[in-house]
């Protein structure tokens, strides 16, 4: 909302300069966005909040300025001169839908001469961003900016039947509005009609057929009040936003309609001549008693934080033009009709706070009972994040948006949460998987020359059935690059597997629930390099075809972890005693058939049933050597330890024998020579 300083000064004396005024006005809630010179004038751009339509005009802003400085307000002075011709002979008005139109004032002015406006008027409108049209139209805009009352001037000759009816549109009724667009209406739209047809969209825009033109001689001037919700709905459904609709949908001052009508008629007569017919049309079905609100003195301190002297409160109400009566407990206030935002006690407390000054209430810290706490899963997630950071993974954050095609590549069975009104095609649903987002982030970095990456995201995925936390890990490129201290090495499947094992172990979930298998692996994983840990994690290398489609030219490893299930597994750990007797480590190198999995060897050894066997650990694997091509060599160490004695050589040799025998019998394993 643009406000001209010189215009403002017609209504109120301002004891400070423009910059200071800007600060003061901002401090009571009318945020000044900018202060710009405009010719000899200064123009303020005000950000008027939606609850204060009374400040969408100069008189209203002047009232606020007067309230700041305690200076009196001068309302616009004019003298209406009516002719003897009666308005009622020229036109009549009826309201068919009084719930949508609370008041309709009108004036009939005959014999006007349409022409350009004088320069002062043009300049004034221009200063607040309005283009001059002609003297009559300019007056309606001027009064709008002055008093906040939207007005409309009809070419009275083009109205049929000397009557105005305020009614709902008929189904399919059409009107061409002033902007030249023909619109088809529905009964939810309120129109101004003559005897035959709709001639204006009530409170939004006039019709082209009854527009003031150079040939107009008789003017019918409308100054009405329309229900905010109806105007808002219509304006939105028609995609229109006008100065009039902007004010009506926020709430205009129903008592201003009459004054504005007379003010505009007087100005039209002054600028365009003609005679104002006797008597104003004023159909006022929405007349109601003023709103009354009580304010309890005690609430000022108990709600705002410190007491304010009665005389200060009295002064604030007086300056705001709130009539009041003092009572033993406080004030009974009559709210002026322009303050559509005030209806309960808290509204009055707001007025006191804002005019007394927010900065005059000291900051205090409230006392409290009880205790503070983080989200229930927070500790577990924090532990996970720490572990992932320490394992080299950096956290990413991606948008929750996705598109169905991308999503179905990874979640063919999804029932996605779709938007009615997506902004773009590739952000039309909520993601059901974190895979596309993390791959996109890898792609972004690879394209920028960053090839060695470990990322994770711990966030939400969405289904129609609900929202769930999810964790994903991705890694690609080198784990270690060439340095003085180390040889370079690429990230491998087993690096990923180890990271997941660390996660599962740290949460205490490395157990039967996390049994390794290759069942139900999604197709975007490499079939020979992927696995799952029970229901807790699916992981592996991404299928080369997927990478090709994504134009990624290096191996990528991915792990999807069911973080909700994982964190629900957290269990208390209890300490194991440190063994007092020495451990004995024995190393073996076996020659095995190619295709014999390590897990088979491991299970076989475990199944021997040696209670003193505490650990089995493979440490070398050779695909070729002094053995047949169909064989491979696996070296592993086993550790024996007893909790209650030192093991003897004979015992240890017995254990070894059992292991060697069973591996030979069941797997055909031979000790490598």
């Amino acid at each position: 909302m643009k406000i001209s300083l010189s215009w403002l000064k017609e209504f109120v004396d301002i004891p400070v300069d423009a910059q200071e005024l800007g600060k003061k006005v901002t401090s009571i809630g009318l945020a000044v966005e900018s202060v710009e010179p405009h010719g000899n004038d200064t123009v303020f751009e005000l950000d008027v909040t939606t609850n204060r339509p009374d400040c969408l005009n100069h008189l209203g802003v002047a009232r606020e300025v007067g309230a700041i400085f305690g200076t009196p307000i001068r309302s616009p002075q004019f003298k209406l001169r009516e002719s003897t011709a009666k308005t009622s002979d020229a036109i009549s008005v009826s309201i068919a839908d009084p719930d949508l139109c609370g008041r309709y004032c009108g004036r009939f002015i005959s014999g006007v001469k349409i022409g350009p406006s004088p320069d002062w008027l043009k300049q004034r409108l221009e200063s607040v961003g309005i283009r001059s049209i002609n003297n009559v139209a300019d007056v309606t805009n001027y009064v709008l900016m002055e008093l906040g009352q939207p007005l409309h001037a009809f070419d009275a000759e083009s109205l049929h039947g000397h009557e105005i009816i305020v009614r709902r549109a008929e189904i399919g009724e059409r009107i061409t509005t002033l902007d030249g667009i023909e619109r088809t209406l529905t009964p939810s739209t309120l129109v101004i009609a003559d005897a035959q047809r709709a001639v204006a969209l009530a409170g939004i825009m006039g019709g082209a057929e009854t527009e003031i033109s150079g040939k107009t001689t008789n003017v019918f001037l409308e100054s009405a009040h329309f229900a905010p919700q109806s105007i808002r709905k219509t304006a939105r459904s028609l995609g229109m936003n006008t100065e009039a609709s902007y004010r009506f949908e926020r709430g205009a001052d129903i008592r201003m309609a009459q004054t504005a009508c007379d003010r505009a008629a007087t100005m039209i007569q002054e600028l365009a001549g003609g005679e104002i017919h006797h008597g104003m049309i004023d159909v006022f079905p929405g007349k109601t008693a003023p709103v009354r609100v009580s304010l309890r003195r005690i609430r000022i301190e108990s709600f705002l934080g410190s007491a304010v002297e009665d005389s200060v409160v009295d002064g604030i109400f007086q300056r705001l033009e709130f009539k009041f009566a003092k009572t033993s407990s406080g004030w009974d206030v009559e709210v002026p009709s322009f303050r559509v935002d005030v209806s309960v006690e808290q509204d009055l407390l707001e007025e006191i706070a804002r005019l007394y000054g927010y900065d005059r209430f000291p900051g205090t810290l409230p006392s409290w009972r009880g205790y503070g706490s983080f989200l229930p899963g927070d500790a577990g997630e924090r532990q996970l994040r720490d572990l992932l950071s320490n394992s080299g993974y950096s956290e990413i954050t991606t948008y929750s948006f996705s598109d169905e095609e991308t999503e179905r590549r990874f979640r063919p069975d999804i029932d996605p949460v779709k938007f009615q009104n997506p902004m773009t095609e590739d952000a039309a649903i909520l993601r059901s998987s974190l895979v596309p987002g993390i791959l996109k982030s890898l792609h972004w970095n690879l394209n920028r020359g960053i090839h060695d990456i470990q990322f994770y995201e711990l966030s939400k995925v969405y289904r129609k059935s609900g929202e769930n936390r999810a964790l994903i890990l991705a890694a690609t490129g080198a784990l270690r690059t060439q340095s003085l201290h180390d040889t370079p090495r690429d990230f491998t499947f087993f690096d990923l597997k180890g990271d997941i094992e660390n996660i599962l172990e740290s949460i205490g979930a490395l157990s039967k629930l996390s049994e390794l298998s290759t069942e139900r692996i999604p197709p975007y994983y490499h079939p020979g390099r992927s696995a799952r840990f029970g229901e807790l994690a699916v992981f592996g290398e991404i299928h080369p075809e997927q990478l090709e489609a994504l134009k990624i030219r290096q191996r990528v490893f991915l792990a999807e972890i069911n973080v909700e299930a994982l964190l629900s597994k957290t269990s208390m750990k209890s300490v194991q005693a440190i063994p007092r007797f020495p451990a004995i480590r024995r190393d073996f190198s076996f020659v095995l058939d190619k295709g014999t999995q390590y897990v088979a060897v491991q299970r076989m050894i475990a199944d021997v049933g040696i209670p003193e066997l505490t650990r089995i650990e493979p440490f070398d694997r050779m695909e070729s050597g002094p053995f047949a091509d169909t064989k491979y060599s696996l070296s592993l160490s086993v550790v024996y330890q007893s909790a209650d004695r030192t093991l003897t050589d004979t015992e240890v040799e017995g254990f070894d024998r059992k292991i060697l025998d069973i591996l030979e019998q069941r797997l055909g394993a031979q000790l490598r020579k």
Binding site: T50, F303, E350, T364, P366, G392, T397, Y399, V417, A427
Partner: protein
Amino acid sequence: MSSDGIGQLRSIEDQFDRECGAVADLRALEDIRNRYLSRKSGLLTTQLQNLRNIPAAERAAFGQAANQVKGKIESALELLEARLSGVEKNAALERERLDITLPGNRRRLGHRHPLTQVRREIEEIFVAMGYTVEDGPEVESTYYNFEALNIPSSHPARDPKDTFYISDDVVLRTHTSPVQIRTMERMKPPVRIICPGRVYRRDAADATHTPMFHQIEGLFVDEGVTFSDLKGTLERFHKQFFGEKTETRFRPSFFPFTEPSAEVDLSCVFCDRSGCRVCKQTGWIEVMGSGMVNPKVLGFVNYDVEKYSGFAFGLGIERYHMLKYGTGDIQLYYQNDFRFLEQF
């Protein structure tokens, strides 16, 4: 014989003095020790073995002289050994000297996303003030996102050009305020919560907007909660977060769910209120919205508005991170460029 014997001792002593001066390392030391003191063939040992050939009257004198020489040789060798072994140890250490100016061998450490860090930091400040962190759905009914927050169906904030609609009565939440309503429905005052999370608005992405961002909202409802309490709480929060010299200013504003409402300005973190480009020369930056909970909102959750009052506030996590670290573009938080992430 006896004087001759003592004379020989003296000449051994002289010889030792000469040879001892030439010993340069521990091996030569061992050689010289053996040559003089070896139990079988040492020069001095051999002399002492002659003792029985010496007339009894002279034995004492010879013995005394021999022990004196032996003592002298032993202590000379001891001294020499201490000196030589010190030299050798030093030499050994010297051979192990590293170029400690070479870079350390750093294992790769990951980085927590900046939004996670700031969210955590803010949560910690409020948890220390007795707040509980609460969570809620992002796919939310229009009742919780709008109606219960005093945003009726005709309100412009509900326009489909600003809000993502899933169906006519389900939206992506436009703020985390629905969590406040859900929490108040669940529990009686005192309520002290903060609600962090993702929110969605149909803003085209640019340097200061993204269609999704993160908010933290706070709510404090109890008996006798005042506007001063709101001010004091947010003043303390900003000092904790930005530093003790940070100042907070409150300006009247309007939000449907609070009254009175206040825009909260922060003394400019970039220029310390002396005026700069970021604060448009005003010395202040608008950072969050706040206010006293509108009694209509308390009415929606059936709280006794005569008994209870409260305040609420909401901030953008991205914005707070941008202000604290001088990030110029909000989109950096979602690009996941490692060169950005590794800075945190």
